[in-house]
Amino acid sequence: MRPGSTTVRWRMAFLTDRLTLAVAVLVALVLGMPLLKPLFAAAFPALDRPLYEADSFLALTLDHLALVGLSSLMAVVAGCAAGVFVTRPSGAEFRGILEAVATMGQTFPPVAVLAVAVPVMGFGPKPALIALTLYALLPIVENTVAGLEGVPEAVLESARGLGMGPVERLFRVELPLAAPVILAGVRTAVVINVGTAAIASTVGAKTLGLPIIVGLNGSNQAYVIQGAVIVAALAVVLDFGFDRLAALSVRWRRG
């Protein structure tokens, strides 16, 4: 095989890749929405303002991502730490109650958790951040415990045989083997948080939900569509991205 053809094929694969396409669509929507103003004006002739211009879509997208990213990051750190703790002998006693909380908590609708955070913490991005973090913790904790629990005893035994200490075993054997399962939990958390962050604009956080809420309250369908399309594209991009990460984590696991 000539090296040139591989490069070309790789380039073609990159161009037709669904993640690349989804990212391209998202970027085009975020940056190019103002160009569609005539289109929205034609589709909704009754509207005085056919384009949401109070904030730039780029700023809203970045704020949205910051809220989702920060809450997910805090949840990953705390959730993995809790999952590791309860699968060690010293924390085994807490495992049952932690799992029970994680299971039960996931039956609480995210929108209700978000709403309940407001009377406790007031309006603004803070209750949204706390509610999203708490909600994201549940699937991450659940999957961290399941992933670490799924590491075969024989593998741990041979790691011990190789002279690995508990810390080395955790970072070089257990966590790499559990990574795909943990990642699946992070994916669940992030996908839920993208949606909840959009609703968080009703509690005073500035996110991509804002054009939707403003549009629904003011009967401006164009605003609603502009916000909804970008939120949907963002969710799909993140979902496809996690697909890619999952494939990579399996490869990492194989070493």
Binding site: A43, I97, G195, I212, N217, Q221, V229
Partner: protein, 391 residues
């Protein structure tokens, strides 16, 4: 290690520490002149002091709390675990009762608009008490039906207090008193939305699942689509349905279709509900061992008989857990649907958020959570009963 002999339950110790810290440092209640102002804090000891001045026996609430504090140091055993569960439940219920009593005392010397609402200390202690009950139930090693029964007892006791009117001076119930008719209609609407989405979901989802299980090509086509739908945030799907449905409504005015209201909500809920139903129908049928199918065929059963008498009963528990996921999810999504004018409990919740009326937020949000947990428990109970019968 010496602590092993003294300390027998570190989970209870952590919960007891949380209860003690919350009781001493966080406000138990908030007392405000009206519903829009934020309140001044009322500590737990202030509530107990108020009761003592009137000679009321509210301090009894502390007894189950003391049991929870003692459990870490008691030698583990069945009796201790039973006491632990009972103490957790009674403390959780007692805190609500104490809050109601103190609210009544505060209301006696205040203007009618005054509000007494739960403070952070109440929430922390309530959560810790319920977790203690859960931990105790787990330590007893009871079957899931018993776990649900313990939850039902706690819910029942709080229900009795609600019905007795002892809690009427709490802000959330004052809000309820103002909104009685709205609230009842919202609960009905919420249930109707969920049920209305369930009908098309089952009519489409079950046959689709059965087909997908038999035909690999259908399976490969269906799941990527349903997965992407599930990924799209609910608020975005509601928004995206708005435009095509309004166009349709303008084109066909006679059909009662509209871009906002309950119809698009039910359509969106159906899209979300399909994935768990189809997935669990397929997984349930996949789980039927081929040896069982062979045996049924050997007994001379027809294809139809094998499906109805062998495959369906064996796939039922997995299917029902899909139904549980669908319903719990739909209860939450129906709350979001209030944003597009579908009504339901979400309408009360968002009205409260937009008007900065926090009691109204709770009046909408708390029943949504209760409804989701109740649906979850009811279907888990059904699965465990059917599972036992099948075994």
């Amino acid at each position: 290690m010496p602590h092993r002999t003294i300390l027998h339950n570190r989970v209870a110790l952590l919960l007891a520490a949380a209860i003690a810290a919350a009781a001493l440092t966080l406000p138990f209640l908030g007392f405000a002149p009206n519903r829009l102002l934020s309140g001044r804090p009322v500590a737990l000891w202030a509530a107990l002091e108020g009761a003592a001045l009137e000679g009321a026996a509210d301090w009894l609430v502390l007894l189950p709390g003391a049991v929870v504090l003692a459990v870490p140091f008691l030698r583990p055993g069945r009796l201790v675990s039973v006491a632990y569960v009972a103490a957790g439940v009674l403390f959780a219920v007692g805190l609500v009762w104490l809050a109601g009593e103190q609210a009544a005392r505060l209301a006696a010397n205040a203007a009618p608009a005054a509000r007494t609402s739960f403070g952070a200390g109440f929430w922390v202690m309530e959560a810790a008490a319920l977790l203690a009950a859960m931990d105790g139930v787990r330590r007893l090693g009871l079957a899931s039906a018993w776990r649900i029964a313990v939850g039902a007892v706690a819910a029942g006791l709080i229900g009795v207090m609600l019905a007795s009117g002892r809690l009427d001076q709490l802000s959330i119930l004052k809000e309820y008193a103002n909104q009685r008719d709205v609230f009842a209609a919202a609960v009905v609407r919420h249930a109707v939305l969920v049920a209305a989405a369930l009908v098309p979901t089952l009519l489409v989802g079950v046959p689709l699942g059965v087909l997908a299980q038999r035909v690999p090509r259908v399976r490969r086509a269906v799941f990527p689509v349903l997965n992407v739908v599930q990924t799209v945030p609910s608020i975005a799907l509601f928004g995206l349905l708005l435009a095509p449905l309004s166009v349709l409504a303008n084109a066909l005015p006679g059909l009662g279709i509209a871009g906002v209201g309950p119809v698009p909500a039910v359509i969106a809920l159906t899209f979300y509900s399909l994935l768990p139903i189809v997935r669990n129908t397929v997984e349930g049928l996949d789980g039927v061992p081929s040896a069982v199918r062979e045996a049924a065929r050997g007994m001379g059963m027809t294809k139809r008989q094998i499906f109805l008498k062998v495959e369906v009963p064996l796939a039922l528990p997995v299917f029902l857990s899909g139904l549980r996921i669908t319903l719990v999810q739909a209860v939450g999504l129906a709350a979001v649907a209030a944003l597009i004018g579908a009504g339901g409990l979400g309408a009360i919740m968002f009205q409260g958020l937009f008007a900065n009326a926090l009691d109204l937020v709770l009046l909408g949000a708390v029943p949504v959570i209760v409804l989701a947990v109740a649906v979850d428990a009811a279907l888990k109970l059904a699965v465990s009963i059917i599972g036992r019968r099948a075994a």
